[in-house]
Amino acid sequence: MSPTWDELAEGASAPPRTVGPLTRTDFVRYQGASGDMNPVHHDEPFARAAGYEAPLGVGMFHAGVLATWATDWLGPENVRAFKVRWKEAVWPGDVLRFSGKVVRRYEQAGERRVDLELACTREGGGVAVQGWATFVVV
């Protein structure tokens, strides 16, 4: 059950989700699903030649997990907007924390809506992805 309008006051949140340590398999599974086969995310010699010590995390993978955190909370059918900005690279072995909260609750065109601020943070590091989302509340 998705939360009700009354439960979604400004500041309302859901428990954060922790994912990891990330594996190369997480990256490869996402790359196969999305169709982005850039070798820098799975081919160790290629990543080293590009100046990295390990395959670089796939930005759209953890952005997608951030979307999952939000839709698990407020319902996949209710999302109306989702936006991410990448801030910091992610690596195999990283533990990521996904969280967010309601920053605005309003009515628009006869629909009840909430705007969220979201974050994917690296344990022992900084914010990897900032996110924003809009959901209708039914």
């Binding site: 994912v19 599974r29 996402y30 196969g32 699903a33 999305s34 169709g35 982005d36 930005g59 759209m60 993978f61 952005a63 997608g64 997990v65 979307a67 999952t68 939000a70 839709t71 698990d72 319902g75 996949p76 059918e77 209710n78 999302v79 109306r80 907007a81 989702f82 936006k83 991410v84 900005r85 990448w86 801030k87 910091e88 690279a89 989302a133």
Partner: protein, 154 residues
């Protein structure tokens, strides 16, 4: 160096069919086990599902105008991505027609010096049957003036 002349460049329309198996695959790859994705006969697609448009674009020559920007692959990266839905996200079985255009190429001074160039491509998705606008994807790429240094972030 990103090309400002690319602004306004438009790709030819391409078809994208929203498929149940692909929804499951992407939901699983983004660590969701929500029953709305896994159990519904006609599930809605996850918020970032339209990233799979590349599977469809590559079969429609001329549909992706992004190369017209000529972002240097060694100094370019994905900076932002946005999806807007004009109703519930498209469900399995929906046939969409996508059309991409280069919206803007802009410049900004980076915090550690060096000019940053941002390029934005917008893709509109319409229902192939009704023509109704279903979703819009907005991809922002950034190019730095010089390759990023060790441990440097934007």
């Amino acid at each position: 160096m990103a090309k400002e002349t690319a602004v306004g460049a438009e790709g030819v329309p391409f078809e994208l069919e929203v498929e149940r198996g692909k929804i499951r695959e992407l939901a699983r790859a983004t660590l969701s086990s929500h029953p709305a994705y896994m159990k519904d006969e006609r599930p809605v697609s996850p918020p970032t599902f339209l990233t799979t448009m590349f599977f469809w674009e590559e079969h429609t020559p001329g549909s992706n105008p992004w190369h017209r920007v000529e972002l240097d692959p060694k100094r370019g990266m994905h900076a932002e991505q946005e999806y807007v839905f004009f109703g519930p996200p498209p469900r399995a079985g929906t046939r969409l027609v996508g059309r991409s255009r280069i919206e803007s190429v802009t410049h900004k001074e980076g915090r550690r010096g060096g000019r940053l160039t941002f390029a934005v491509m917008v893709t509109e998705f319409r229902d192939a049957t009704t023509g109704a606008l279903v979703a819009e994807a907005r991809m922002t790429g950034v190019e730095t003036e010089r390759p990023p240094q060790e441990g440097e972030t934007r």
